[in-house]
Symmetry: C2
Subunit: 390 residues, 2 copies
């Protein structure tokens, strides 16, 4: 065999450490790359089982299309390249939701509503964050476009939890919020723009003292929103006791129905409510949620109601495959049968037909057969007559 | 429902036509996006069944890494972006083979050889070609690293054909070449560098007259190489009758063994040989091949032996998923059961447990139930008691 390597060695944990790959970008190795791909496909299978049809938008498109509407939020995170064909700037997608909305508004504009679409793909960002240092990661999700019924909100929330649970993730919690609730209360109390802004900032920081000072007439109710964050049932009991303006009362009524239906559909799911939350949900126009797993860093996914750039109401969610992978129970390496040098092809074909994965030696073994099989990462070997465990 | 669309309409066939997407980039819609993903996963499953383990390199990495060795060939096709973290240039990959070789030489340098790796992913190119106008397309393939036995060449050639055939593609042909054969003949006849260059150019153009004029003492043999292109068995019979220098005779002997083994393993495969071919195989260092399907435009894939930038011998192949999709027999749209508005969740759950995909109405139908079901793209509907075909 020829010389192996001219590339610098590393600690085996990260290419970035050796300067081989840029920070936040990485090679996914066996068996993890296979687990990731299978998890992604199983999530999509959960979605297609409920009528969501897969679409695949491109990794790159015109910058201005990617920056439409809420896309603007990630403008600073977008890699840009010049298109020599059109002489226009293109961007590498930072998110897939807006691309799906674009498809719904263009090539699928005549498709019947509600339109159920699913996707799985890579996104790229210019810089990582402290919580997610990765600059490339996979998003897997659905969009349900053109349905304003509460049943749509229930469907996507339950689907997100069910799909992740079907991978074997236990201890899931769904943290629900409705970013229009606090603004509805602020608006009804006639706060002036400066006061309203201060109150929102205080809520955003979850700073009760500041909220008390800044909230004016809305302060007592807003303080209750802060205090009620927690298990959804208790939070809703508290919310229903408040004297709320009509718009806010309607929101609470919908949350109440949603929580009841979600809990009925997914009894193992811990449902919490953060009624004062709107940070990170700026572009949501209704019920929104974040999915977590007990003892797993970072959110597994998030979703909620929004309006597409074309003006359609929609809801949906995105799962972050890297976080979902962290939540998975340990997986066993796949079984594989070592075929000693000279094993006839017909044997290999037969074993594969019987469902075995095979690993064929291509040269005469210079060592003990079992040792060679183990070194190759096999779990079994063919002794000439039967498959033997190693 | 809100206003549908502010984006320009198009012919329904292509976003590019409407200026919505850059030329050569496209949205893949249902059901094709699902078929594509499933074809990709089934190809990978064929590879893992023979011990190839999936790796997933990033979409972007340092330019200089992507341009190592044969990567230079696609330098003009690479989109480049500045990395604000390292202040170094990064490139969007135009190919995956070299990334896999990099993994083999870095994080997997201590893994036992032969190393069998598989991959599936998107690549991007600055410009399309006439044969492949797409600027983003999927590559699915394997690399077999560190095995110089002829058995390795046989394994990858048969695997490429078997994997594609397992998707239902018929009429496959494997066009084999050995780009070192003609140079071995040229070298043995002592042509001077200028003559050798002229002879190679004539071979490259398959121009017999020019070859006769330029080939000097090697001309008669080289003309035979040109003339013998065709079914492998006949070509080999002709080659074996030639008086060849030792290096060339060794190559012919190996080709003979390879063709015999490939034909035995894949009797339905049409095997052809183009003994004078080396165009497009400049970086190959041994047996190479191209896979075609009858009546399908463009090659489905190509592969062959090469040396990694780290100096290891390797062979492998890449399948182009867009070409493979063109070769697939027509597929049926997936079955889906329409659930009229108000169908209990328990019914939906039960149907999905029984293997049905469901599509739930979220609002009271304003029209005939069957009509609504058809409009939604369903093949069946739930009449309250059983699943009925539409």
């Amino acid at each position: 065999m020829a010389t192996r390597s001219r590339t610098p060695a590393n600690d085996g944990d990260s290419n970035a450490a050796a300067g081989l790959l840029p920070a936040g970008l990485r090679d996914v190795l066996p068996p993890r790359a296979e687990w990731e791909a299978q998890a992604s496909e199983r999530l999509i299978a959960s979605f297609t089982a409920q009528g969501y049809a897969r679409v695949k938008p491109p990794l790159i498109e015109f910058e201005e299309t990617l920056l439409a509407g809420s896309g603007q939020d990630l403008a600073g995170q977008m890699f840009r390249v010049m298109d020599p064909v059109s002489q226009r700037m293109m961007g590498l997608r930072t998110d897939i939701t807006l691309q799906v909305a674009r498809i719904a508004a263009s090539r699928m504009k005549d498709a019947v509503r509600p339109l159920r679409l699913a996707y799985a793909g890579q996104v790229l960002r210019v810089r990582g964050t402290q919580l997610r240092p990765e600059r490339q990661f996979a998003q897997v999700g659905v969009e349900l476009i053109g349905a304003d019924a509460l049943a749509a909100d229930v469907e996507v929330a339950v689907l997100a939890a069910e799909a992740v649970a079907s991978l074997g993730v236990a201890g899931l919690s769904l943290d629900i919020t409705q970013p229009l609730l606090a603004p509805a209360i602020i608006a009804a109390h006639g706060l002036d723009p400066k006061q309203a802004k201060a109150a929102r900032r205080a809520l955003d920081r979850k700073d009760a003292a500041e909220l008390k000072a800044a909230g004016g007439a809305a302060a007592p109710t807003l303080l209750k929103l802060l205090a009620l964050a927690g298990p959804a049932k208790t939070a809703l009991e508290g919310l229903k006791k408040l004297k709320l303006p009509d718009a806010a009362a309607k929101i609470v009524g919908d949350l109440d129905k949603l929580v009841a239906e979600v809990s009925a559909a997914a009894p193992d799911l811990l449902v919490t409510l953060d009624p004062g939350e709107f940070r990170g949900f700026e572009y949501h126009t209704g019920i929104a949620f974040t999915l977590f797993a007990r003892n797993v860093r970072g959110e597994l996914g998030r979703g909620g109601r929004y309006v597409t750039p074309a003006g359609e109401t929609a809801t949906g969610f995105t799962l972050y495959l890297d976080s979902v992978m962290r939540a998975l129970p340990p997986q066993a390496a796949p079984a594989m049968v070592y075929l000693p040098f000279g094993t006839p092809r017909s044997t290999a074909v037969k074993l594969r037909k019987d469902g075995h994965a095979t690993w064929a030696a291509l040269d005469q073994e210079s060592t003990d057969m079992k040792k060679a099989a183990k070194a190759a990462g096999c779990s079994h070997w063919w002794d000439g007559k039967t498959v033997q465990p190693l």
